[in-house]
Subunit: 205 residues, 2 copies
């Protein structure tokens, strides 16, 4: 994510909600959680205030009033600026259009999987399959339960999440099979070991 003045996705959420109406940061956090946005965008209180400041500094939002209420701490209400509205829409477009490079943790794990014995790798992958399958079931029922009172438009992202997990489970099954069937391994004595035919400095053992 290059060149954006503020790039934390929290800022996108802030811009989106302020597009609806002015709010103070605590309220933004509460609405995000209420709407399940915390599922797509990581919320951290410190970052929410920090991002809000950055948006102000870059004139994408501005403070419009400060409310005092004997019952509550003082709160500052922000509204989006025209520049902020523009940034929001452009950012949103680029998020939908451009498949930006991601660095999923599992990919890093796979890159170093050769450090583990094939047998152990298979066990771990199988466990991952189980956990993902549970995720899949959970997302499924959440979608069904929510579909009763939420428009499908707002379930798209859960469906995406579901699809990607299902694809991973499927691939994992295949990977496990291939490890077991000897595609990646060879027998060394009683143990099966990764098949390494290029013992050069390219990769570990």
């Amino acid at each position: 994510m290059a060149k954006r003045k503020v790039s934390n996705l929290l800022a996108l959420a802030v811009l989106s909600l302020l597009n609806e109406r002015p709010m103070h940061p605590y309220e933004i956090g509460a609405v995000m959680r209420q709407r399940g946005l915390a599922d797509s965008i990581k919320i951290n209180t410190g970052s929410l205030y920090s991002v809000t400041e950055a948006l102000v500094r870059n004139q994408l939002i501005e403070p419009v009033e400060t409310l005092r209420d004997t019952k509550h701490p003082e709160r500052t209400v922000y509204a989006v600026t025209p520049a902020g509205r523009t940034e929001f829409l452009e950012w949103l477009r680029s998020l939908i259009r451009t498949p930006f490079k991601e660095y999923p943790q599992f990919a890093a794990g796979l890159a170093f999987m050769g450090h583990l014995a094939p047998r152990e790798a298979v066990a771990l992958l199988a466990e991952r399959c189980k956990l993902l399958a549970a995720d899949v079931a959970e997302i499924r029922s959440a979608i069904e339960a929510t579909a009763k009172f939420v428009d499908r438009l707002f379930l798209i992202e859960q469906e995406y999440s579901l699809t990607m997990r299902e694809a991973e489970v499927k691939w994992l099954h295949q990977l496990i099979e291939r490890i077991k069937d000897g595609t990646f391994t060879e027998q060394k004595g009683e143990q099966s070991a990764w098949k390494i035919t290029h013992p050069d400095p390219m990769r570990p053992h």
Copy 2:
């Protein structure tokens, strides 16, 4: 990713490479790039040194010598400690076993897609499809080219990457179809608009 003393995936790469042999950070960076690890783990020079310091601070690696060479700047060589070896393996296991929550940028885009007109959304999604398809083709040829001299074990992560992109392309096609076929939309005058039947504060317009 909770509780790890050092959690940047760069640190995992450092631990992995130092498991092979002692190296200085610049060399670690170079080897990572040479091996294509920069594809799975984001490298930033400042972070590499910072992460190295954090690993030292937490006694997962230690400096073993400082080399001076009239041609090159002074360099500090680090080696992994027993605790570092243990941490590496446990971290690796957890990366493979546990599907930790990720926050892909596209998911955030989908969460707010309702802010765009359906027509525009479709155009953007179609563009994304194209870009992803190009990624798919590229990864495919990279795998084929590399398979000639790299063991399959070391291509697993590229295959994962390929699979996930293919799944996304497929799903995108379906999503586009569903937007076009009226699943998500309704006619409002001459324009098609998102079908919103719950105009409550749950979501934007």
